[in-house]
Symmetry: C2
Subunit: 259 residues, 2 copies
DNA sequence: TAGTGGTCTAGACCACGCC
DNA sequence: GCGTGGTCTAGACCACTAG
């Protein structure tokens, strides 16, 4: 790319010329190399969330590939919700606005199937020692601390979620300055800690309400509770947040699409 | 397409010429029209599951569009897992083999995060009268009957799932002939009832084990149980299966990827 | 009206699977 | 060696947004 290719349609030639690591099978297509270069710029902070990227034409000249190849790279980033493209406007770095949080990262819906925006009714932040599991998962240095956030969140005016979040103190230095934390916490990560949550994995289990759950959620002890464990990953693939949500599911449910 | 377009790069011209319904905004791109035409053939049964489709080149000639446009249509079908493409081999109608069932339609995993294939240890089929809700959802004619399947399913040798499936008797005539039902029931729908399950929606709640759950799953009554309601949809979008699974989540969990 | 992404076409070459 | 899908290029035109 920077060492420009031969100008004809030779894909493998160009790929080998640029010589990118590719363990899978033989070679890495040019558009994936372009995708990675663009992703690297996003990771480095060269383009901040909300910023407009150069046009396909400009990028194709800068990177020495055809516009079609840049388009394929941008389409791949768009499919991963890393950028957002608007015909007639341009390509933008994806932001954690309310809509994205609601549709990509919040799966609780009411009986009609509509996603409901949760409201934070209680929030607490404190510094703590990580468990060995947390330390390992978050990749903490020895003796590094963590932040623990506890939030109680309401849906349609009723407290439904008892949530605990664990973050590396190193990655989120001075987090306590931002108390009271905003409802949309991924936007906070993004704006003040250069951390964009790109994807997450969740594990769901049915458990009994603890005494604390019963108190927070106003239910009986041993009431069935949906426990949702989440690991959230940054653009570079690093695990940046651990979360456990305990949720009443009498009026709401967790919605999952299989496709 | 059949009424061929003008042969140049005029996209909108070709689209308007073929005049497909498109409520959204203005027009439907040619590749989506091609996608729909291919989907129609799949729905009609012209190409059966597992069959190889004509090559891109052949399709482009048949439909009077460029190979690139056919490719875009096939890529869209591939993204929806309706066809499967293999470099060097061809494009095939997707089948409900064990791998697809496991990865697309079965979200239970063990503590390491590995999907586990369930084993059916008990299966019962009977004809029944639908509830009004079932009748409405499945679009049944008045007085039409349903099949009810009850299955107990084991993971790693332990009964973990108590499952009830409801099907339209009209769509699955003579289903009782196939008793004992195979473990992979979507393959049965596909092979004998011309019904391909293309996608599904699930709603998850935490509930208490009923007396029957306790008996089947070997747990105490009021044990927390993960209840999974599923609606499965055919290629043409019709709702074809209702399912309720009640699941122990002490050794296993429901895995959900947010991306 | 200018600039952006979106579509469509045409043709070349590459990687892969199979015979 | 042949046929398949996958990549890459080049260039045209269309749809949409904004000044």
């Amino acid at each position: 790319m920077t060492n420009s290719n031969d100008g004809n349609g030779g894909a493998a030639t160009a790929s080998i010329a640029t010589g990118r690591a590719n363990m899978q099978l033989g070679y890495t297509p040019l558009y994936l190399q372009v995708r990675q270069q663009l992703l690297d710029k996003l990771i480095s902070g060269e383009w901040l969330p909300g910023a407009m990227l150069p046009s396909e034409q400009q990028l194709s000249v800068q990177m020495g590939v055809s516009q079609g190849t840049v388009r394929k790279a941008l389409d791949a980033l768009s499919a991963d919700r890393i950028v957002v493209r608007h015909q007639g406007r341009g390509t933008f770095v994806a932001e954690h606005d309310q809509r994205r949080t609601l549709f990509q990262f919040f799966k609780i819906a009411d009986d009609k199937g509509d996603r409901v925006l949760p409201e934070t009714v209680y929030s607490q932040l404190r510094r703590a020692e990580p468990s060995t599991a947390e330390s390992r998962l978050l990749g903490l240095r020895p003796k590094a601390g963590v932040w623990r956030i506890v939030r109680h969140r309401a849906l349609k005016g009723r407290v439904m979620l008892n949530e605990q979040i664990t973050l590396s103190e190193d990655r989120f230095p001075g987090l306590d300055v931002h108390v009271p934390l905003p409802n949309n916490i991924y936007e906070l990560y993004e704006r003040h800690f250069a951390t964009t949550v790109a994807r997450a994995a969740e594990q769901l289990r049915a458990v009994s309400a603890s005494a604390q759950d019963a108190d927070v959620l106003g239910c009986g002890e041993t009431t069935p509770i949906l426990q949702i464990d989440r690991q959230a990953f940054a653009l570079n693939g690093a695990l940046v947040e651990l979360r456990r949500s305990r949720c009443l599911t009498e009026q709401f449910h967790y919605a999952s699409d299989l496709r």
